[in-house]
């Protein structure tokens, strides 16, 4: 089915990284991202150190470089924007072959490229080792407002249901010879999207009735959060704190 698979990010495994509680991994991820973003763009060696930290975490999680590389492709459209910076940037210019490039623009492009890629790679390690429901309970444990984790939870739960309905509507249209090629032929598709919106709204009402029927009174019970031991925190934060220390030295020095 063409519908998105809400759990496609997760890779089954029994590594130590998989076993860590989700909220611990989220804190570790946050530290790595802040360290990467805070590192001055000229300190190329420090970025290499960050990369080593992330590669080490991926190795502990039994994730291959090829897998991480494949997942990084999702960042490509954003990085494509960075390629433009050397051409449109102002200030000093440097001539490379037939091209005149902005020095500031080149640094800007490098900064977007390296920071974006490293932060994304760290996120890939966490999302590939943590199921989505565990990530949501982890966020709840970190005191992220309940309303946000609830909305995200319902989104995860119903994304496939709604994508499945959309897919069936498209199949039903195709079965009657509908094959839009141009935007102005998309009226039927747009109408079905509207119908889907109404149906989703009605489903929302039925789900709410089902929740009320089981005693819901405006607050979801907090279920399934696992407690973290000191050893969990130490194991999870060892590598991110190395990255943070490297970033701190780079900022001070």
């Amino acid at each position: 089915m063409s519908a998105g698979h809400a759990h496609a990010l997760y890779v089954h495994g029994d590594s130590r990284v998989h076993a860590l509680p989700a909220h611990v991994k989220l804190v570790a991820l946050l530290i790595v991202i802040v360290a990467v973003v805070a590192t001055p763009r000229e300190r190329v060696g420090v970025f290499a150190a960050h990369a080593v930290v992330i590669i080490a975490a991926a190795a502990c999680a039994h994730l291959s470089p090829r897998f991480i590389g494949g997942r990084l492709l999702i960042g490509a459209p954003f990085l494509a924007f960075a390629v433009l910076l050397p051409f449109v940037g102002g200030g000093d210019r440097v001539v490379v072959g037939a091209l005149s490039l902005s020095v500031g623009g080149l640094w800007g492009a490098w900064s977007v490229l390296v920071k974006g890629t490293l932060a994304l790679a760290a996120s890939v390690v966490v999302t590939a080792t943590t199921p989505v429901p565990a990530l949501l309970t982890g966020l709840g444990r970190l005191r992220v407002p309940v309303v946000i984790t609830e909305i995200a939870g319902f989104m995860v739960r119903y994304l496939e249901v709604i994508a499945g309905e959309m897919h069936r509507a498209k199949v039903a249209m195709a079965a009657r010879g509908y094959q839009p090629r141009w935007a102005w032929q998309g009226t039927a598709l747009a109408t079905s999207a509207g119908a889907l919106f109404i149906r989703s709204h009605e489903r929302g009402e039925r789900v709410y009735d089902a929740m009320l029927s089981r005693g819901y009174q405006g607050r979801l019970p907090q279920l399934g959060a696992t407690a973290a031991t000191r050893a969990d925190w130490a194991r999870a934060l060892a590598l991110p704190l190395c990255a943070a220390a490297a970033a701190a030295l780079a900022v001070i020095g």
């Binding site: 809400a6 759990h7 939870g153 009735d209 029927s213 089981r214 005693g215 979801l220 019970p221």
Partner: protein, 254 residues
């Protein structure tokens, strides 16, 4: 005789657009009874069910569950007593894992820790679904989701189980598995269904609803065998099905 597990008297309800759906529905069900609610589409069956636990408030009449009247101040306890399994399991199973979904009801009533785990596993075991406890509901088949939906309600220890078309859209094997689960539960049961052989198999008593009223109430086999009554209420037996010839060993004791 014991006090009714469920008593409905003169229930009347019109939707906000003015459509009158319930026009004085009257019936009662005693503890341990298994009752099928039959009737054509639009008879008001699902609307009736939404009154049993106070989701809808009637324009007239009242509902009493094991001696407790459905009122705004009793509605929380009523919803624990009346376990409704909705027709579409995707409406019923809204959490991200089966465990969280089954725990949702009891957790709303303050059950926590080991007792909550015990309730979750007990309910899932009762429907033969303990093996999927950590799976996301949308990865299960329809038959599995229906059984998990029954577990979400059983975990609340209800007085009466209300099922809205439990066998719809299921393949014959899943339909059979669900029937075995339901037959094995020692609980008062009210089952809305268009599946007349299913009603005959699981419920010794049946009621027919039409135009917002209960128009017939009696032994299921007798109701299904009454051709005039059946056709007057747009009910039809499957081709070749004769309720008087159904194998007696599969029928519930009256």
């Amino acid at each position: 005789m014991s006090a009714p597990a469920l008593e409905v008297r003169g229930l009347e309800y019109a939707y906000p657009d003015g459509t009158q759906v319930l026009r004085g529905a009257d019936f009662h069900i005693h503890p341990g009874e298994r009752v099928a609610l039959l009737g054509p589409n639009g008879a008001g069956k699902t609307t009736l069910v939404l009154h049993l636990n106070g989701i809808l408030t009637p324009d007239g009449g009242d509902v009493t569950v094991a001696g407790l009247a459905v009122q705004p101040r009793t509605v929380k306890e009523i919803r624990r007593r009346v376990g409704i399994v909705f027709q579409d399991p995707d409406d019923q199973l809204f959490m991200t894992t089966v465990r969280q979904d089954v725990a949702f009801g009891p957790a709303n009533y303050g059950v926590t820790g080991e007792e909550l785990d015990r309730r979750v596993m007990g309910a899932l075991t009762a429907v033969g679904m303990a093996g999927v406890v950590d799976r996301p509901p949308h990865h299960l088949s329809l038959g599995e989701r229906r059984r998990v939906a029954v577990a979400t309600v059983l975990a609340m220890n209800p007085e009466i189980l209300v099922l809205d078309e439990p066998s719809s859209n299921m393949d014959p094997a899943s339909r059979r598995e669900l029937a075995d689960v339901l037959a094995g539960l020692e609980i008062t049961l009210l089952m809305i269904t268009h599946d007349l052989p299913y009603a005959l198999e699981l419920c010794p008593r049946a009621m027919i609803m039409n135009h917002g009223r209960i128009v017939a109430d009696g032994p299921t086999a007798a109701l299904l065998g009454d051709r005039e009554l059946m056709s007057a209420n747009r009910l039809e037996l499957p081709l070749g099905f004769d309720p008087s010839l159904a194998r007696p060993e599969r029928l519930p004791a009256p």
